[in-house]
C-alpha cells in the first residue's frame, strides 16, 4: 500500500476538504464494482461494530476500577452479554465474511456465485446484530453468551419479551451466516455463465481435503484444484455452518420457552438436562473459538505470506494436512470447557478436554512456523503495514494458544476456571492481538484492490494503531491474567477494590487499544473521504460481475 509520509493539511480548509473528499481525491465510489462495494460494506460495518465492542469493553474496564453510578448492575451484565456477541458476530464475522467473499473469487479467478445472496448476508447480520444489541440495552436481557440452562429461560430475572427480541436478533445473524456458507460453497463449485463446465465435485473434494486424504493412498497423486487459502476458507466454513445450526437450534428452544411464558404458560425447565445442554451448546460454540477462528486465521496467514512474498508457501502440503487435522480437532475439543463440571464423564475430560485440545498447540504452532518460514525464505522484505500487523497477529496467537493449553488441564483448570486468566491472556490476547491484527493485515493487503488504489492518509496514524493494539492488547491480557492468578473471577463485580491496581493497569492498556482504533478509523475516513465512505452504500454504477473495474 502506498502512503503519504505525514498528514500535512495546510489549513482547516485543507483538513475539511480531505475529510470530505479523501486523500488525494479519495475513494471514487462511482468506479467501484458491485463486488468491491459488497466487501467494503461488510468491512465498514464490521469496524463500526468493533467500535461498539471496544467502547463496551472500556465501560466494563472502568466499572471494574470504580463503579459507574449511572450504569446499574443489570445494565452492566447486559453489556457483558452483548459485548462478546457484538465483537464476534457484528465485527469479526462481518470483516471476515466481507474479505472472504472477495478472496474466493480472487483466488478462484471466477465471479462470486451470487452478489444478491452476499448482500442479504450483509443486511441480515448487520440488522441482527443491532437487534440483539438494542434489545439487550433496553431490556437488560443478560443470560451471557454461554446461556447455561436454565438461565436463558429464567423469567424471574429477565423479561421474556426483551429476550425474544434478543434471540430473534441472533437468529437473523445465523440466517445471514448460513447464506454466507451457501455462497462460499457455491462459488467454489459453480460454473459461471459461458464457461466450460467446472468439475464441481472435484473442486469441493479438494477444498474440503478429501483429495489430499485420498492422495495418501494413491500412487499417482491428484493435483489440488483449489488454492490453499480457499481450502482454509472452505474448511472453516464447515465449522461456521455447524455452529450456526447449533446456535439456531438452541435459540429456537429458548424462544419456545419465551413464547409459552408470554402466553401465560411456564414450561418446566427440568425438561432439558442442564449438563447435556451445556455439552451440545459448547460443542457448537467451540466450533467458533477452537474451530473456524483458528482455521480461518491460519488460512489468512498463508494468504498474507504468499501475497507479501509473492512465493509459494513453505511445506504447503503439510499446511493443508494441518488444516484438515484442525477441522477434526475442532469437532472433538469442546470438553475443555467442562473440566470443572464434576458430573462430566472423566473420559471426556481427559480425551476431549486435555489430549485433543493439545493438538491445537501443534496445529497452530505449525501454522505460525510455516508462515514465518515462508516470510524468512523471501527476505529481505520491506516492513509494510501488512507485514507488521501479520507479525503482531502471529505473536498474539503465539501467546494466547499456550495460555489456553495450560487452562485446558484438569489440575490447573481447578484454580483457573472462570478467573480473569481465561478471559485475559487467552481470550482477549487471541481476539484483539491475534485475530484483530491478522484482520488488519488482511485489510491493508486488500486495500489497493478494494479501493482501486486509494492512498493512505497517514502512516503515522497507522503506526499509532499498530502499537496501541499490540501493547494495549498484550498489556490488558497480562494484567487481567495477573488478577486472575490472584483469584479474581470473571463475570462478576468487585465492590471493595480487591483488585483495583490490576484493573487500573488493564484499563490503561484497554485505553491504548481504543486510542489505536480511533486513529485507525480517522486514518481510513481521511483516506477515502466521507463522500467515498457514503458512496460504498449506494448502488454500483458498474454492471459487472468482475471483482475490479476492467480499466
Amino acid at each position: 500500500m502506498t502512503t503519504n509520509t505525514a498528514p500535512t493539511p495546510s489549513s482547516k480548509t485543507g483538513f475539511l476538504k480531505t475529510l470530505i473528499d479523501g486523500n488525494e481525491g479519495g475513494l471514487k465510489a462511482d468506479g467501484l464494482t458491485p463486488a468491491q462495494k459488497l466487501s467494503l460494506r461488510f468491512v465498514v460495518v464490521g469496524l463500526i461494530y468493533f467500535g461498539f465492542a471496544a467502547i463496551e469493553g472500556m465501560l466494563m474496564r472502568i466499572y471494574q476500577i470504580e463503579i459507574i453510578s449511572f450504569i446499574g448492575v443489570e445494565q452492566y451484565f447486559g453489556i457483558l452479554t452483548a459485548h462478546p456477541l457484538v465483537g464476534i458476530f457484528g465485527s469479526s464475522y462481518m470483516i471476515v465474511f466481507g474479505a472472504f467473499l472477495f478472496v474466493i473469487p480472487f483466488m478462484m479467478k471466477k465471479p462470486l456465485w451470487s452478489l444478491k445472496v452476499g448482500q442479504a448476508s450483509f443486511l441480515l447480520i448487520a440488522i441482527g446484530t443491532f437487534t440483539f444489541w438494542f434489545s439487550g440495552f433496553i431490556s437488560h436481557y443478560a443470560a451471557l453468551y454461554t446461556l447455561y440452562w436454565p438461565l436463558p429461560a429464567d423469567f424471574d430475572q429477565f423479561s421474556a419479551l426483551g429476550g425474544s427480541f434478543f434471540i430473534a436478533g441472533i437468529a437473523l445473524v445465523m440466517v445471514g451466516t448460513l447464506l454466507f456458507v451457501l455462497n462460499v460453497f457455491k462459488s467454489i463449485m459453480y460454473t459461471p455463465e459461458g464457461w466450460e463446465q467446472q468439475p464441481g465435485g472435484a473442486l469441493l473434494s479438494s477444498a474440503l481435503g478429501f483429495t489430499g486424504f485420498a492422495n495418501l493412498f494413491r500412487k499417482e497423486k491428484k493435483e489440488h484444484l483449489v488454492p490453499l487459502p480457499v481450502a482454509a476458507i472452505a474448511r472453516g466454513t464447515v465449522d461456521v455452518a455447524l455452529n450456526a445450526l447449533i446456535i439456531t437450534f438452541s435459540g429456537v428452544l429458548i424462544l419456545v420457552y419465551m413464547v409459552w411464558h408470554l402466553a401465560g404458560i411456564d414450561l418446566a425447565d427440568t425438561a432439558i438436562d442442564a449438563l447435556l445442554y451445556k455439552n451440545w451448546y459448547w460443542w457448537g460454540l467451540d466450533l467458533v473459538a477452537d474451530g473456524l477462528v483458528l482455521i480461518f486465521v491460519a488460512g489468512t496467514w498463508y494468504l498474507l505470506a504468499m501475497l507479501i512474498t509473492g512465493k509459494k508457501l513453505f511445506m504447503q502440503n503439510i499446511a493443508r494436512a494441518a488444516l484438515a487435522v484442525e477441522l477434526i480437532v475442532s469437532w472433538t475439543v469442546w470438553s475443555h470447557h467442562l473440566l470443572s463440571d464434576q458430573a462430566q464423564p472423566a473420559i471426556l475430560k481427559i480425551v476431549s478436554g486435555e489430549l485433543v485440545t493439545a493438538f491445537e498447540l501443534i496445529t497452530q504452532g505449525l501454522a505460525i512456523f510455516i508462515t514465518l518460514a515462508t516470510l524468512w525464505m523471501a527476505r529481505p522484505l520491506k516492513m509494510t503495514n501488512e507485514l507488521k500487523f501479520l507479525l503482531g497477529g502471529l505473536l498474539g496467537f503465539g501467546l494466547a494458544v499456550p495460555a489456553g493449553i495450560m487452562q485446558a488441564d484438569m489440575g490447573l483448570n481447578r484454580i483457573l476456571h472462570n478467573t480473569q486468566w481465561i478471559i485475559g491472556p487467552h481470550v482477549h490476547v487471541a481476539i484483539i492481538v491475534g485475530l484483530g491484527m491478522t484482520l488488519y493485515a488482511a485489510i491493508y493487503v486488500l486495500w489497493p484492490l478494494l479501493t482501486n488504489g486509494v492512498k493512505l492518509y497517514s502512516q503515522w496514524m497507522s503506526n499509532v494503531h499498530f502499537w496501541g493494539t499490540l501493547v494495549g492488547g498484550i498489556g490488558m491480557g497480562a494484567f487481567m491474567g495477573m488478577a486472575g492468578l490472584q483469584g479474581m473471577l470473571r463475570r462478576t463485580i468487585y465492590f471493595e477494590g480487591e483488585f483495583t491496581p490490576y484493573m487500573w493497569l488493564a484499563g490503561i492498556s484497554g485505553a491504548l487499544i481504543l486510542i489505536g482504533f480511533v486513529f485507525f478509523m480517522i486514518n481510513i475516513i481521511m483516506s477515502v473521504g466521507l463522500k467515498g465512505l457514503l458512496g460504498i452504500f449506494t448502488k454500483s454504477k458498474l454492471d459487472t460481475k468482475d471483482l475490479v473495474p476492467a480499466d
Partner: protein, 184 residues
C-alpha cells in the same frame, strides 16, 4: 505439600519466561526479515524438530500435572475414596444453604463437598482472606456436584459462587464459612 498458591506461582514463572522468549523471537524476526542474510533456507529437519517439541510439550503438560498436583488424582478417583468429612450444601434462589453456620474442617482430612442446585447453574469456590482461590467447581442442576479436598493450613475460607447465574449472582458470598483447624 503443594497448594493452589504454589501451583499458580509455578505457572506464573513458566508462562512469563515463555512470553519473554516468544516476544524476543518475534522482535528478532521482525528485525532480521528486513535484512539480507547469509542464507534464507529453512531446513526440514528444523521444521520436524519443532513439530516434535510441540508434541512433547502439548502432551507432557498433563503427565506432569497429573503426577505433581495432588488434587488431580484425588478428583479422578473420588468415586472410590471414602471421605473423612462430608458437607451437603444446597443452592437455591442465589443463596448457599449450609449444613452449619461454621463448617469446621480438620487438617489433613479428606473432605467431600456435595453441592446441589435446585434451580440454576452456579459455581462453588473457596477463597482465602487475600481473595486467592483454593479451588472451585461448577454446580449444575439435576446432577451430582461433589469435590474432594484436603486442607493443610489453618485458615478461614470464604465461599463464593464462581459461575454467573444472573445479575443477582455476584452477591453469593459467605465470608469465613469454612474453618480449617488442627494444623501444626
Amino acid at each position: 505439600m503443594i497448594n493452589s498458591h504454589d501451583v499458580l506461582w509455578g505457572q506464573t514463572l513458566l508462562y512469563t519466561a515463555y512470553v519473554v522468549v516468544m516476544v524476543s523471537v518475534i522482535i528478532w524476526f521482525a528485525y532480521s526479515v528486513t535484512k539480507e542474510g547469509k542464507t534464507s533456507n529453512v531446513s526440514k529437519t528444523f521444521f520436524w524438530g519443532f513439530v516434535a517439541v510441540l508434541v512433547v510439550v502439548g502432551f507432557s503438560l498433563h503427565l506432569v500435572t497429573y503426577n505433581t498436583i495432588p488434587w488431580v488424582k484425588q478428583d479422578l478417583h473420588r468415586g472410590d475414596t471414602v471421605a473423612d468429612q462430608q458437607f451437603d450444601i444446597v443452592v437455591e434462589n442465589h443463596e448457599f444453604i449450609l449444613p452449619a453456620k461454621d463448617m469446621v474442617v480438620q487438617c489433613n482430612e479428606l473432605v467431600l463437598f456435595d453441592v446441589t442446585s435446585n434451580d440454576l447453574t452456579y459455581g462453588f469456590g473457596l477463597f482465602r482472606d487475600n481473595n486467592s482461590m483454593v479451588m472451585q467447581m461448577q454446580v449444575v442442576p439435576g446432577h451430582r456436584n461433589d469435590i474432594l479436598w484436603k486442607f493443610e493450613e489453618n485458615e478461614s475460607l470464604t465461599i463464593r459462587s464462581t459461575e454467573y447465574s444472573g445479575p443477582e449472582g455476584f452477591q453469593m458470598i459467605i465470608p469465613d464459612a469454612v474453618n480449617v483447624v488442627g494444623c501444626a
